[in-house]
Protein backbone atom coordinates (compact mmCIF):
# COMPACT_ATOMS: atom_id res chain seq x y z
CA UNK A 1 0.00 0.00 0.00
CA UNK A 2 2.28 2.72 -1.14
CA UNK A 3 1.46 6.28 -1.77
CA UNK A 4 3.18 7.38 -4.92
CA UNK A 5 5.26 10.49 -4.83
CA UNK A 6 6.98 10.40 -8.17
CA UNK A 7 8.87 13.59 -8.76
CA UNK A 8 9.05 15.28 -12.09
CA UNK A 9 11.85 15.29 -14.55
CA UNK A 10 11.54 17.62 -17.49
CA UNK A 11 8.21 18.23 -19.13
CA UNK A 12 7.57 19.20 -22.67
CA UNK A 13 4.53 21.30 -23.40
CA UNK A 14 1.78 19.47 -25.22
CA UNK A 15 1.07 20.25 -28.86
CA UNK A 16 0.80 23.99 -29.45
CA UNK A 17 -2.76 25.21 -29.34
CA UNK A 18 -4.37 27.11 -32.21
CA UNK A 19 -4.53 30.39 -30.33
CA UNK A 20 -4.07 30.74 -26.60
CA UNK A 21 -7.38 32.52 -26.16
CA UNK A 22 -10.42 32.85 -28.31
CA UNK A 23 -10.94 36.42 -29.62
CA UNK A 24 -12.87 38.49 -27.08
CA UNK A 25 -15.76 39.64 -29.26
CA UNK A 26 -16.19 36.17 -30.76
CA UNK A 27 -16.89 34.89 -27.24
CA UNK A 28 -19.27 37.74 -26.38
CA UNK A 29 -21.19 37.35 -29.66
CA UNK A 30 -21.33 33.52 -29.45
CA UNK A 31 -22.66 33.54 -25.91
CA UNK A 32 -25.24 36.23 -26.64
CA UNK A 33 -26.32 34.35 -29.79
CA UNK A 34 -26.60 31.12 -27.79
CA UNK A 35 -28.82 32.75 -25.15
CA UNK A 36 -31.07 34.38 -27.75
CA UNK A 37 -31.32 31.16 -29.77
CA UNK A 38 -32.16 29.07 -26.70
CA UNK A 39 -34.71 31.63 -25.54
CA UNK A 40 -36.28 31.93 -28.98
CA UNK A 41 -36.87 28.19 -28.88
CA UNK A 42 -37.87 27.67 -25.24
CA UNK A 43 -39.26 31.14 -24.35
CA UNK A 44 -39.01 30.26 -20.66
CA UNK A 45 -37.51 33.52 -19.41
CA UNK A 46 -39.24 36.07 -21.58
CA UNK A 47 -42.68 34.48 -21.23
CA UNK A 48 -42.41 34.47 -17.43
CA UNK A 49 -41.11 38.05 -17.35
CA UNK A 50 -43.77 39.36 -19.72
CA UNK A 51 -46.61 37.59 -17.93
CA UNK A 52 -45.40 38.93 -14.59
CA UNK A 53 -45.21 42.45 -16.05
CA UNK A 54 -48.75 42.30 -17.42
CA UNK A 55 -50.12 41.10 -14.08
CA UNK A 56 -48.15 43.69 -12.09
CA UNK A 57 -49.31 46.57 -14.29
CA UNK A 58 -52.93 45.39 -14.14
CA UNK A 59 -52.73 45.27 -10.34
CA UNK A 60 -51.19 48.75 -10.21
CA UNK A 61 -53.78 50.21 -12.57
CA UNK A 62 -56.69 48.88 -10.51
CA UNK A 63 -55.10 49.55 -7.12
CA UNK A 64 -54.16 53.16 -7.88
CA UNK A 65 -57.22 55.12 -8.88
CA UNK A 66 -55.61 58.44 -9.69
CA UNK A 67 -56.42 61.64 -11.48
CA UNK A 68 -54.48 62.57 -14.61
CA UNK A 69 -51.82 64.64 -12.82
CA UNK A 70 -51.19 61.91 -10.25
CA UNK A 71 -51.04 59.28 -13.01
CA UNK A 72 -48.28 61.21 -14.79
CA UNK A 73 -46.40 61.49 -11.50
CA UNK A 74 -46.66 57.77 -10.66
CA UNK A 75 -46.34 56.03 -14.02
CA UNK A 76 -42.52 56.33 -14.02
CA UNK A 77 -42.37 54.59 -10.65
CA UNK A 78 -44.73 51.84 -11.79
CA UNK A 79 -42.59 51.31 -14.89
CA UNK A 80 -39.33 50.87 -12.98
CA UNK A 81 -40.72 48.84 -10.08
CA UNK A 82 -42.19 46.40 -12.61
CA UNK A 83 -38.97 46.23 -14.64
CA UNK A 84 -36.97 45.60 -11.44
CA UNK A 85 -39.16 42.72 -10.21
CA UNK A 86 -39.79 41.14 -13.62
CA UNK A 87 -36.08 41.47 -14.41
CA UNK A 88 -35.11 39.80 -11.13
CA UNK A 89 -37.38 36.89 -12.05
CA UNK A 90 -35.54 36.44 -15.36
CA UNK A 91 -32.05 36.90 -13.91
CA UNK A 92 -32.67 34.15 -11.37
CA UNK A 93 -33.30 31.61 -14.13
CA UNK A 94 -30.65 32.87 -16.54
CA UNK A 95 -27.59 31.76 -14.59
CA UNK A 96 -29.31 29.04 -12.55
CA UNK A 97 -30.02 27.15 -15.79
CA UNK A 98 -26.31 27.31 -16.68
CA UNK A 99 -25.34 26.08 -13.22
CA UNK A 100 -27.84 23.20 -13.01
CA UNK A 101 -26.78 21.58 -16.28
CA UNK A 102 -23.09 22.15 -15.60
CA UNK A 103 -22.85 24.37 -18.67
CA UNK A 104 -21.43 27.20 -16.55
CA UNK A 105 -18.43 24.94 -15.93
CA UNK A 106 -18.26 24.21 -19.66
CA UNK A 107 -18.04 27.96 -20.31
CA UNK A 108 -15.39 28.44 -17.64
CA UNK A 109 -13.37 25.54 -19.09
CA UNK A 110 -13.06 27.19 -22.48
CA UNK A 111 -9.91 29.20 -23.28
CA UNK A 112 -11.71 32.51 -23.05
CA UNK A 113 -11.46 35.69 -21.00
CA UNK A 114 -14.01 35.35 -18.23
CA UNK A 115 -15.06 38.96 -18.55
CA UNK A 116 -16.13 38.10 -22.12
CA UNK A 117 -18.47 35.49 -20.62
CA UNK A 118 -19.86 38.20 -18.36
CA UNK A 119 -20.60 40.56 -21.25
CA UNK A 120 -22.06 37.72 -23.33
CA UNK A 121 -24.49 36.78 -20.55
CA UNK A 122 -25.21 40.43 -19.84
CA UNK A 123 -26.25 41.13 -23.45
CA UNK A 124 -28.84 38.34 -23.32
CA UNK A 125 -30.20 39.57 -19.97
CA UNK A 126 -30.23 43.15 -21.27
CA UNK A 127 -32.28 42.27 -24.34
CA UNK A 128 -34.79 40.25 -22.29
CA UNK A 129 -35.19 43.11 -19.80
CA UNK A 130 -35.49 45.58 -22.66
CA UNK A 131 -38.31 43.49 -24.15
CA UNK A 132 -40.14 43.86 -20.83
CA UNK A 133 -39.47 47.62 -20.81
CA UNK A 134 -40.90 48.10 -24.30
CA UNK A 135 -43.96 45.99 -23.52
CA UNK A 136 -44.54 48.14 -20.43
CA UNK A 137 -44.45 51.31 -22.53
CA UNK A 138 -47.43 50.00 -24.53
CA UNK A 139 -49.29 48.68 -21.48
CA UNK A 140 -48.82 51.77 -19.33
CA UNK A 141 -49.76 54.10 -22.18
CA UNK A 142 -53.09 52.24 -22.47
CA UNK A 143 -53.85 51.59 -18.80
CA UNK A 144 -52.57 54.87 -17.32
CA UNK A 145 -53.57 57.02 -20.30
CA UNK A 146 -50.17 58.73 -20.35
CA UNK A 147 -48.18 58.99 -23.58
CA UNK A 148 -44.93 57.10 -23.01
CA UNK A 149 -43.88 57.13 -26.66
CA UNK A 150 -41.15 59.72 -26.25
CA UNK A 151 -37.61 59.27 -27.62
CA UNK A 152 -35.95 60.45 -24.40
CA UNK A 153 -37.99 57.98 -22.35
CA UNK A 154 -36.85 55.19 -24.68
CA UNK A 155 -33.27 56.30 -24.02
CA UNK A 156 -33.91 56.21 -20.26
CA UNK A 157 -35.37 52.71 -20.61
CA UNK A 158 -32.36 51.50 -22.63
CA UNK A 159 -29.89 52.93 -20.09
CA UNK A 160 -31.90 51.71 -17.09
CA UNK A 161 -32.24 48.18 -18.52
CA UNK A 162 -28.53 48.15 -19.36
CA UNK A 163 -27.64 49.08 -15.79
CA UNK A 164 -30.10 46.57 -14.38
CA UNK A 165 -28.82 43.74 -16.60
CA UNK A 166 -25.17 44.55 -15.85
CA UNK A 167 -25.68 44.67 -12.09
CA UNK A 168 -28.05 41.73 -12.17
CA UNK A 169 -25.68 39.50 -14.13
CA UNK A 170 -22.90 40.31 -11.68
CA UNK A 171 -25.00 39.70 -8.56
CA UNK A 172 -26.74 36.58 -9.92
CA UNK A 173 -23.34 35.05 -10.72
CA UNK A 174 -22.57 35.48 -6.99
CA UNK A 175 -25.83 34.02 -5.75
CA UNK A 176 -25.99 31.14 -8.25
CA UNK A 177 -23.69 28.97 -6.12
CA UNK A 178 -25.80 29.43 -2.99
CA UNK A 179 -28.34 26.85 -1.88
CA UNK A 180 -31.17 29.36 -1.38
CA UNK A 181 -30.29 31.36 -4.50
CA UNK A 182 -33.94 32.26 -5.34
CA UNK A 183 -34.21 34.08 -2.00
CA UNK A 184 -30.69 35.42 -1.99
CA UNK A 185 -30.78 37.08 -5.42
CA UNK A 186 -33.43 39.75 -4.66
CA UNK A 187 -31.94 40.38 -1.21
CA UNK A 188 -28.51 41.03 -2.74
CA UNK A 189 -29.68 42.67 -5.93
CA UNK A 190 -32.28 45.22 -4.84
CA UNK A 191 -29.95 47.34 -2.65
CA UNK A 192 -27.31 47.35 -5.40
CA UNK A 193 -29.70 48.47 -8.14
CA UNK A 194 -31.13 51.30 -6.04
CA UNK A 195 -29.01 54.01 -7.74
CA UNK A 196 -30.21 52.75 -11.13
CA UNK A 197 -33.87 52.54 -10.15
CA UNK A 198 -33.83 55.92 -8.38
CA UNK A 199 -32.13 57.79 -11.23
CA UNK A 200 -34.26 56.07 -13.90
CA UNK A 201 -37.47 56.76 -11.99
CA UNK A 202 -36.59 60.39 -11.31
CA UNK A 203 -35.60 60.98 -14.94
CA UNK A 204 -38.76 59.27 -16.24
CA UNK A 205 -41.08 61.12 -13.85
CA UNK A 206 -39.49 64.51 -14.57
CA UNK A 207 -39.86 63.87 -18.28
CA UNK A 208 -43.46 62.66 -18.07
CA UNK A 209 -44.59 65.54 -15.84
CA UNK A 210 -43.25 67.95 -18.47
CA UNK A 211 -40.51 69.40 -16.27
CA UNK A 212 -37.62 71.27 -17.87
CA UNK A 213 -34.61 69.53 -19.42
CA UNK A 214 -32.41 70.54 -16.49
CA UNK A 215 -34.75 68.58 -14.20
CA UNK A 216 -34.32 65.20 -15.93
CA UNK A 217 -30.94 65.53 -17.61
CA UNK A 218 -28.83 65.23 -14.40
CA UNK A 219 -30.68 62.01 -13.52
CA UNK A 220 -30.05 60.67 -17.02
CA UNK A 221 -26.36 61.56 -16.72
CA UNK A 222 -26.21 59.87 -13.31
CA UNK A 223 -27.83 56.77 -14.83
CA UNK A 224 -25.24 56.71 -17.59
CA UNK A 225 -22.42 57.04 -15.05
CA UNK A 226 -23.78 54.25 -12.86
CA UNK A 227 -24.07 52.02 -15.97
CA UNK A 228 -20.47 52.75 -16.86
CA UNK A 229 -19.24 51.96 -13.34
CA UNK A 230 -21.06 48.61 -13.25
CA UNK A 231 -19.95 47.70 -16.79
CA UNK A 232 -16.39 48.32 -15.64
CA UNK A 233 -16.94 46.45 -12.36
CA UNK A 234 -18.11 43.38 -14.33
CA UNK A 235 -14.90 43.42 -16.35
CA UNK A 236 -12.72 43.37 -13.25
CA UNK A 237 -14.84 41.34 -10.81
CA UNK A 238 -16.42 38.49 -12.77
CA UNK A 239 -13.25 36.39 -12.76
CA UNK A 240 -13.10 36.52 -8.94
CA UNK A 241 -16.81 35.89 -8.54
CA UNK A 242 -16.90 32.65 -10.53
CA UNK A 243 -13.72 31.28 -9.02
CA UNK A 244 -13.92 28.63 -6.28
Amino acid sequence: MSATTTTSETTTPAAKPRRLRTPYFQVVASLAWKDLRAEARGRELVNAMLLFSVMAVLIFSFALELDRQAQEATVGGVLWVTIAFAGTLGLGRSLAAEKDKGSLDALLLAPVERSALFYGKMIGNFLFTLAVGFLLVFLLTVLFNVNLFRPVLWLIIVLGCLGFATTGTLVSSMSVHARAREMLLPILLLPVILPIIISATRASTALLTELKTEDWLPWLQLLGMVDFVFLLAGFFLFDFIVEE
Binding site: A14, L20, T22, K34, E39, S103, A106, A110, P111
Partner: protein, 241 residues
Protein backbone atom coordinates in the same frame (compact mmCIF):
# COMPACT_ATOMS: atom_id res chain seq x y z
CA UNK B 1 2.32 15.35 -18.79
CA UNK B 2 0.60 16.03 -15.46
CA UNK B 3 2.61 16.75 -12.33
CA UNK B 4 1.20 17.47 -8.94
CA UNK B 5 3.39 18.26 -5.95
CA UNK B 6 2.18 18.83 -2.41
CA UNK B 7 -1.32 19.78 -3.52
CA UNK B 8 -3.46 21.09 -0.69
CA UNK B 9 -7.01 22.37 -1.00
CA UNK B 10 -9.06 23.59 1.92
CA UNK B 11 -12.58 24.98 2.02
CA UNK B 12 -12.53 27.31 5.00
CA UNK B 13 -10.76 25.30 7.69
CA UNK B 14 -11.81 21.98 6.16
CA UNK B 15 -9.00 20.24 4.26
CA UNK B 16 -10.17 18.27 1.22
CA UNK B 17 -6.77 17.52 -0.30
CA UNK B 18 -3.92 17.17 2.19
CA UNK B 19 -0.71 16.98 0.21
CA UNK B 20 -1.21 15.05 -3.03
CA UNK B 21 1.84 14.12 -5.11
CA UNK B 22 1.30 12.59 -8.51
CA UNK B 23 3.00 12.17 -11.86
CA UNK B 24 1.01 11.08 -14.90
CA UNK B 25 2.85 10.24 -18.11
CA UNK B 26 1.63 11.16 -21.58
CA UNK B 27 -0.80 8.53 -22.89
CA UNK B 28 -1.45 7.09 -19.44
CA UNK B 29 -5.01 6.28 -18.31
CA UNK B 30 -5.34 6.87 -14.59
CA UNK B 31 -8.51 5.77 -12.84
CA UNK B 32 -9.06 7.57 -9.55
CA UNK B 33 -11.05 5.66 -6.98
CA UNK B 34 -12.16 6.69 -3.54
CA UNK B 35 -15.19 7.06 -1.33
CA UNK B 36 -17.44 10.13 -1.50
CA UNK B 37 -15.68 13.16 -0.02
CA UNK B 38 -12.20 11.76 -0.59
CA UNK B 39 -11.32 14.70 -2.85
CA UNK B 40 -11.56 13.13 -6.32
CA UNK B 41 -13.81 15.78 -7.83
CA UNK B 42 -11.93 18.61 -6.11
CA UNK B 43 -8.71 17.38 -7.65
CA UNK B 44 -10.29 17.22 -11.11
CA UNK B 45 -11.68 20.73 -10.66
CA UNK B 46 -8.20 21.99 -9.81
CA UNK B 47 -6.83 20.28 -12.93
CA UNK B 48 -9.61 21.93 -14.95
CA UNK B 49 -8.65 25.34 -13.54
CA UNK B 50 -12.10 25.72 -11.95
CA UNK B 51 -10.69 25.74 -8.41
CA UNK B 52 -7.44 27.23 -7.17
CA UNK B 53 -5.06 25.13 -5.07
CA UNK B 54 -4.54 26.37 -1.52
CA UNK B 55 -0.92 25.19 -1.69
CA UNK B 56 1.25 23.04 -3.91
CA UNK B 57 2.22 22.98 -7.54
CA UNK B 58 0.22 21.66 -10.49
CA UNK B 59 1.75 21.47 -13.97
CA UNK B 60 -0.02 20.23 -17.08
CA UNK B 61 1.96 19.75 -20.27
CA UNK B 62 4.65 22.04 -18.91
CA UNK B 63 2.21 24.81 -18.04
CA UNK B 64 1.43 25.79 -14.49
CA UNK B 65 -2.01 26.14 -12.93
CA UNK B 66 -3.40 28.74 -12.33
CA UNK B 67 -0.84 31.02 -14.00
CA UNK B 68 -1.14 29.57 -17.51
CA UNK B 69 -4.70 28.33 -17.59
CA UNK B 70 -5.43 29.54 -21.13
CA UNK B 71 -2.84 27.21 -22.64
CA UNK B 72 -4.03 24.39 -20.40
CA UNK B 73 -7.71 24.82 -21.23
CA UNK B 74 -6.94 24.34 -24.95
CA UNK B 75 -5.56 20.91 -24.04
CA UNK B 76 -8.42 19.74 -21.83
CA UNK B 77 -11.58 17.84 -22.69
CA UNK B 78 -14.01 17.16 -19.87
CA UNK B 79 -16.83 14.64 -19.59
CA UNK B 80 -18.78 14.83 -16.37
CA UNK B 81 -21.88 13.18 -14.93
CA UNK B 82 -23.56 16.51 -15.76
CA UNK B 83 -24.12 17.01 -19.49
CA UNK B 84 -22.46 20.47 -19.80
CA UNK B 85 -24.79 21.08 -22.74
CA UNK B 86 -27.78 23.28 -23.55
CA UNK B 87 -31.16 21.55 -23.60
CA UNK B 88 -32.85 24.14 -25.78
CA UNK B 89 -30.23 23.95 -28.54
CA UNK B 90 -29.90 21.16 -31.10
CA UNK B 91 -26.94 18.78 -31.01
CA UNK B 92 -25.41 20.64 -33.94
CA UNK B 93 -25.97 24.09 -32.40
CA UNK B 94 -24.39 22.95 -29.13
CA UNK B 95 -21.25 21.74 -30.89
CA UNK B 96 -21.04 24.79 -33.16
CA UNK B 97 -21.28 27.03 -30.09
CA UNK B 98 -18.41 25.22 -28.37
CA UNK B 99 -16.43 25.14 -31.64
CA UNK B 100 -16.60 28.95 -31.63
CA UNK B 101 -15.61 29.12 -27.95
CA UNK B 102 -12.57 26.92 -28.69
CA UNK B 103 -11.76 29.05 -31.73
CA UNK B 104 -11.90 26.26 -34.29
CA UNK B 105 -11.35 27.88 -37.72
CA UNK B 106 -14.69 28.96 -39.23
CA UNK B 107 -14.02 26.99 -42.41
CA UNK B 108 -13.52 23.75 -40.45
CA UNK B 109 -16.29 24.04 -37.84
CA UNK B 110 -19.10 22.54 -39.93
CA UNK B 111 -17.04 19.56 -41.09
CA UNK B 112 -15.62 18.93 -37.63
CA UNK B 113 -19.08 19.01 -36.03
CA UNK B 114 -20.53 16.73 -38.71
CA UNK B 115 -17.63 14.29 -38.41
CA UNK B 116 -17.73 14.06 -34.61
CA UNK B 117 -21.51 13.63 -34.59
CA UNK B 118 -21.04 10.76 -37.03
CA UNK B 119 -18.40 9.20 -34.78
CA UNK B 120 -20.69 9.19 -31.76
CA UNK B 121 -23.64 7.97 -33.85
CA UNK B 122 -25.77 11.10 -33.56
CA UNK B 123 -25.59 12.40 -37.13
CA UNK B 124 -29.29 11.64 -37.72
CA UNK B 125 -30.25 13.57 -34.58
CA UNK B 126 -28.04 16.59 -35.38
CA UNK B 127 -31.03 18.91 -35.86
CA UNK B 128 -32.95 17.70 -32.79
CA UNK B 129 -32.94 19.65 -29.55
CA UNK B 130 -31.02 18.02 -26.71
CA UNK B 131 -34.03 17.93 -24.38
CA UNK B 132 -35.52 15.19 -26.61
CA UNK B 133 -32.42 12.98 -26.09
CA UNK B 134 -32.12 10.01 -23.73
CA UNK B 135 -29.47 10.14 -20.98
CA UNK B 136 -27.23 7.87 -23.06
CA UNK B 137 -27.51 10.09 -26.12
CA UNK B 138 -26.75 13.16 -24.02
CA UNK B 139 -23.61 11.46 -22.75
CA UNK B 140 -22.59 10.61 -26.33
CA UNK B 141 -23.03 14.26 -27.25
CA UNK B 142 -21.04 15.25 -24.15
CA UNK B 143 -18.17 13.09 -25.42
CA UNK B 144 -18.45 14.75 -28.83
CA UNK B 145 -18.27 18.17 -27.12
CA UNK B 146 -15.24 17.11 -25.08
CA UNK B 147 -13.38 15.83 -28.17
CA UNK B 148 -14.39 18.63 -30.51
CA UNK B 149 -11.10 20.53 -30.14
CA UNK B 150 -9.04 17.31 -30.10
CA UNK B 151 -7.65 17.73 -26.57
CA UNK B 152 -4.47 16.00 -25.43
CA UNK B 153 -5.95 15.35 -21.99
CA UNK B 154 -9.36 13.91 -21.18
CA UNK B 155 -10.81 14.33 -17.70
CA UNK B 156 -13.75 12.04 -16.95
CA UNK B 157 -15.63 12.85 -13.76
CA UNK B 158 -17.82 9.85 -12.91
CA UNK B 159 -19.00 9.56 -16.52
CA UNK B 160 -21.05 6.41 -15.90
CA UNK B 161 -23.36 8.02 -13.32
CA UNK B 162 -27.01 7.64 -14.31
CA UNK B 163 -26.36 5.43 -17.35
CA UNK B 164 -28.20 2.14 -17.83
CA UNK B 165 -26.30 -1.02 -18.79
CA UNK B 166 -26.58 -0.46 -22.55
CA UNK B 167 -25.65 3.22 -22.37
CA UNK B 168 -22.67 2.40 -20.13
CA UNK B 169 -21.51 -0.26 -22.60
CA UNK B 170 -21.83 2.25 -25.43
CA UNK B 171 -19.80 4.77 -23.41
CA UNK B 172 -17.10 2.09 -23.01
CA UNK B 173 -17.11 1.65 -26.77
CA UNK B 174 -16.92 5.39 -27.43
CA UNK B 175 -14.08 5.91 -24.97
CA UNK B 176 -12.12 3.15 -26.64
CA UNK B 177 -12.99 3.71 -30.30
CA UNK B 178 -13.68 7.44 -30.59
CA UNK B 179 -11.66 8.97 -27.77
CA UNK B 180 -8.86 6.43 -28.28
CA UNK B 181 -8.22 6.15 -24.56
CA UNK B 182 -6.45 2.80 -24.89
CA UNK B 183 -4.20 3.80 -27.76
CA UNK B 184 -2.23 6.29 -25.72
CA UNK B 185 -3.44 9.12 -27.99
CA UNK B 186 -4.67 11.03 -24.99
CA UNK B 187 -3.78 11.20 -21.35
CA UNK B 188 -6.88 10.31 -19.36
CA UNK B 189 -7.85 10.76 -15.73
CA UNK B 190 -11.17 9.25 -14.73
CA UNK B 191 -12.85 9.34 -11.34
CA UNK B 192 -15.30 6.53 -10.76
CA UNK B 193 -16.83 4.25 -8.15
CA UNK B 194 -16.96 1.41 -10.68
CA UNK B 195 -13.92 -0.76 -9.86
CA UNK B 196 -14.61 -3.12 -12.79
CA UNK B 197 -14.57 -0.36 -15.38
CA UNK B 198 -11.57 1.30 -13.75
CA UNK B 199 -9.61 -1.93 -14.12
CA UNK B 200 -10.93 -2.54 -17.63
CA UNK B 201 -9.85 0.83 -19.04
CA UNK B 202 -7.01 2.17 -16.94
CA UNK B 203 -3.28 1.65 -17.19
CA UNK B 204 -2.91 2.89 -13.61
CA UNK B 205 -5.09 2.98 -10.53
CA UNK B 206 -4.96 5.68 -7.89
CA UNK B 207 -6.97 5.49 -4.69
CA UNK B 208 -7.69 8.68 -2.80
CA UNK B 209 -8.44 8.36 0.86
CA UNK B 210 -8.98 11.26 3.26
CA UNK B 211 -7.41 13.77 0.89
CA UNK B 212 -4.25 11.77 0.17
CA UNK B 213 -3.23 9.17 -2.36
CA UNK B 214 -3.41 5.94 -0.42
CA UNK B 215 -2.51 3.69 -3.31
CA UNK B 216 -1.04 4.14 -6.76
CA UNK B 217 0.09 1.47 -9.17
CA UNK B 218 -0.26 0.00 -12.64
CA UNK B 219 -3.17 -2.30 -13.39
CA UNK B 220 -0.65 -4.77 -14.80
CA UNK B 221 0.60 -5.34 -11.24
CA UNK B 222 -2.75 -6.66 -10.03
CA UNK B 223 -5.61 -8.87 -11.13
CA UNK B 224 -9.17 -7.65 -11.46
CA UNK B 225 -10.09 -9.73 -8.41
CA UNK B 226 -7.42 -8.08 -6.27
CA UNK B 227 -8.61 -4.53 -6.89
CA UNK B 228 -11.62 -4.65 -4.52
CA UNK B 229 -9.36 -5.89 -1.71
CA UNK B 230 -6.73 -3.22 -2.39
CA UNK B 231 -9.44 -0.61 -2.47
CA UNK B 232 -11.01 -1.77 0.80
CA UNK B 233 -7.64 -1.88 2.57
CA UNK B 234 -6.70 1.57 1.31
CA UNK B 235 -9.89 3.35 2.31
CA UNK B 236 -10.17 1.39 5.55
CA UNK B 237 -13.37 -0.45 4.69
CA UNK B 238 -14.31 -3.81 6.17
CA UNK B 239 -15.07 -6.21 3.33
CA UNK B 240 -17.66 -8.92 3.65
CA UNK B 241 -16.07 -11.06 0.94
Amino acid sequence: MIEIEGLVKTFGYFPVLRGVDLHVERGQFLAFLGPNGSGKTTMLRILQGLAKPTAGRVMIGGWEIPRETFAIRQQLGVVSHLPLLYDALTAEENLLFFARLYDLPASERGNRVHSILQQVGLEKRAKDVVQTFSRGMVQRLAIARALLHDPAILLLDEPYTGLDVDAAALLDHLLTEVAGVKDGIRTVIMTTHDLGRAYQHATHIGILSRGKIGYYGPTSAMTADELPRIYAETVGMVTTA
